[in-house]
């Protein structure tokens, strides 16, 4: 389980950062999306006593009430807030992206493609 999660976070972060550094606005927004997914997964893995594998999410009768037997509720609360805020900000960024596209006629992040720098393929 840990290795799957770690790989997922790593791949998402890596591709997110790569896309974020690309010159097209759509690539930037995809990069920001992937980065926020990676961060959300990362928050989950940061519960007390590590990942909650095979632990109850809600209180059960007869199970001792400590973090050895339950999933830590705190990262869940954090990740919920982070998802909502990240989603809203991405939507806002999308609007600005479209406005920029409409005003400059290009989807380059600077509003104009530079001619002297050859883009990476």
């Amino acid at each position: 389980m840990e290795i799957v999660l770690v790989l997922a976070i790593g791949v998402l972060t890596g591709s997110g950062v790569w896309l974020l550094l690309r010159p097209r606005t759509f690539q930037v927004i995809m990069g920001l999306c992937l980065l926020s997914y990676a961060v959300n997964l990362f928050i989950f893995s940061m519960g007390r006593l590590g990942l909650a594998i095979d632990k109850e999410p809600v209180l059960q009768p007869g199970v001792p009430q400590d973090l050895l037997h339950y999933a830590d509720p705190m990262p869940q609360a954090l990740v919920l807030t982070a998802i909502v805020i990240g989603f809203a900000m991405t939507a806002l960024f999308l609007v600005v992206l479209l406005a920029s596209r409409g005003m400059s006629g290009t989807d380059h992040v600077d509003g104009s493609a530079s001619h002297d720098v050859r883009e990476m393929p």
């Binding site: 954090l78 806002l92 600005v96």
Partner: protein, 572 residues
């Protein structure tokens, strides 16, 4: 004073919520109004900002006159004790930042009512949401709430930056939003790592548990703190994370730019608060972690900002670079962790913020004057230098000075005089020349650098290499700022012989006078303000009392229903 203090004490625990609740309610109310009810919105906005200023001044009076050693207002919004529920804490530092925010906001909103608020929709609600986010960031004592308030502040700032639209603003806004979204990701990573290591997000509880973190986790703890600090350093515009600042701030409309001058100070505030709390002298093996990074980063930022000021062709760019220099000075001074130096920087912080805000407002008026009523000259849409038109380049046969009329007997119009005088005062404060508050602040910091243990007590301790470097940089950046501001002043005020006098309304002159008047008041009241800054710095560098006050705050007991009068059992 005593009457004010009594009034504040009467409202006290709940008054702490007012700086957050008041803008929230005002903004919500204004969202219900139609776009053509502008006058009503202005009235609401002005009233709410004025009331906010009143409330924050009350809070300042309360916190300053409530006896020693460290008066703290602790408010439990959810009525749960500290490490479990969220906490709002008011101490001297947050009270000072709140008053500063309200003051700058008032000036900015008065300026906006002249005409800028009509350049787009929903200016007034966004403005109030921005104030709410700022106030929340200054009051909260919980890392995750800090994140939420940061996002409120940023979301409103995206809207405000794009206010007025136009290609420049959208382009600058795109970069600004992208870098802030990336910074928010770093913020979340840092916060969740800190939670994973210490099991708490309450700042006081974090400060208590950091010395006891096991040795194997200490590296992880430090990297978490470093990642978190990077998010704040982006906000504080430290080099090399500050290339977004100048385009964004100079593209924003003038009142928004003036308000944004505060936003870099939020980063400084957070760093100062968290660093002194979590990595102060009492933090055991982690004491003063990252000190050299703050000092070094601040110094490089000062150099970058000073060179930028020297190269800036436009007034708004100049103001942006001035914000960067001030930010760098504050960061470098904070990194030393000396109470005396922190006191100096706490004096310098409000005065430099006020001056930079005033410069943003002034830049708008001067640009409009120069461009005959337009806010931007046509040639400024490109990247040309605005002054290098062919007839201005001197040649051997043509000397500009020969055409100049003698200045004797010419009347200076009042509006020109106001602009010139305000520019002069801004220059004095930003460069740190006597007699205004910029000088007092820099002087206090230089004194602290030369006498690290206090005047008279540090006869045999010599300042180290870092102190000398900061000392030189502070004086050097002041000199470069002076050169660039003088050059700009000469260009705008002395070489304009056949221009009409600027047309100013009272609404545009008053806020600048308000901001600079506050700077003069800071100078006149320097002993009182220094006294306040000293107590603030002492409290910041002894976080034990803060931790103690937050963790010992008890929830209000539930109002129990009055027990029904039991009839006494009748004894036979």
């Amino acid at each position: 004073m005593t009457a004010l203090h009594a009034l504040a004490a009467f409202f006290m625990p709940h008054l702490l919520l007012a700086p957050i609740a008041l803008p929230l309610l005002t903004a919500a109310l204004m969202l219900l109004l139609r776009e053509d009810q502008q006058r009503l919105k202005i009235a609401f906005n002005l009233f709410s900002t004025l009331l906010g200023l009143g409330v924050t001044v009350l809070l300042l009076v309360w916190v300053h006159h409530s006896g020693d050693p460290a008066p703290l207002g602790v408010y439990l919004p959810g009525n749960w004790p500290a490490p479990f529920g969220i906490v709002l804490v008011l101490d001297r530092l947050s009270a000072m930042m709140l008053v500063l925010t309200s003051g700058v906001a008032l000036a900015s909103i008065i300026f906006a009512t002249a005409h800028w608020h009509r350049m787009g929709v929903h200016f007034h609600p966004l403005f109030q949401f921005q104030l709410m986010g700022l106030a929340g960031a200054f009051l909260t004592a919980d890392l995750f709430n800090l994140f939420v308030f940061f996002e409120i502040m940023l979301a409103a700032s995206y809207g405000l930056l794009l206010h007025g639209s136009g290609r420049q603003r959208v382009k600058a806004g795109l970069h600004y939003i992208a870098i802030n979204l990336a910074a928010s990701s770093l913020f979340l990573i840092g916060v969740s790592m800190l939670y994973g290591i210490t099991g708490t997000l309450n700042m006081a509880d974090l400060a208590r548990s950091i010395p006891t973190v096991v040795e194997a986790d200490r590296g992880l703890l430090h990297s978490a703190a470093a990642i978190l600090a990077t998010a704040f350093l982006i906000k504080a515009a430290v080099w090399p994370l500050n290339f977004w600042l100048v385009p964004a701030y100079s593209a924003a409309t003038a009142p928004v730019g003036a308000l944004f001058a505060l936003m870099t100070k939020v980063g400084i505030y957070t760093l100062l608060r968290l660093w002194t709390l979590l990595f102060g002298f009492e933090a055991g093996a982690s004491a003063l972690f990252g000190s050299l990074w703050l000092v070094g980063g601040g110094m490089v930022t000062m150099v970058f900002g000073a060179i930028g000021m020297l190269g800036a062709q436009r007034l708004t760019h100049l103001a942006g670079f001035a914000a960067i220099v001030s930010s760098g000075t504050l960061l470098a001074a904070a990194g030393f962790g000396l109470p005396q130096l922190t006191a100096g920087l706490l004096y310098y912080l409000p005065s430099s913020t006020l001056a930079v805000s005033a410069l943003f407002l002034l830049a708008d008026l001067i640009d409009r004057w120069r461009n005959d009523g337009a806010h931007q000259a046509p040639h400024e849409h490109g990247d040309d230098a605005p002054f290098l038109s062919p007839e201005l380049v001197p040649t051997d046969t043509h000397n500009l000075d020969d055409n100049e009329q003698a200045l004797v007997g010419r009347v200076i119009p009042a509006a020109t005089a106001l602009l010139g005088l305000s520019f002069l005062l801004c220059t004095l404060v930003i460069t740190g020349l006597p007699p205004l508050s910029g000088f007092v602040g820099k002087f206090a910091m230089l004194t602290a650098l030369l006498n690290p243990l206090g005047l008279g007590a540090s006869a045999d301790t010599l300042p180290g290499a870092w102190s000398w470097a900061l000392l030189a940089l502070m004086i050097g950046s002041g000199l470069l700022a002076l050169i660039s501001l003088t050059r700009t002043g000469i260009r705008h005020f002395w070489t304009s012989h056949n221009r009409t006098a600027p047309v100013l309304s009272v609404l545009e002159g008053a806020p600048i006078a308000l901001l600079l008047g506050a700077c003069i008041a800071l100078t006149v009241q320097a002993p009182t303000v220094m006294d306040y800054a000293n107590s603030t710095a002492q409290a910041l560098h002894t976080p034990a009392s803060y931790v103690q006050a937050v963790l010992s705050a008890r929830p209000v007991p539930n109002p129990t229903r009055a027990a029904p009068a039991m009839p006494l059992p009748e004894t036979p």
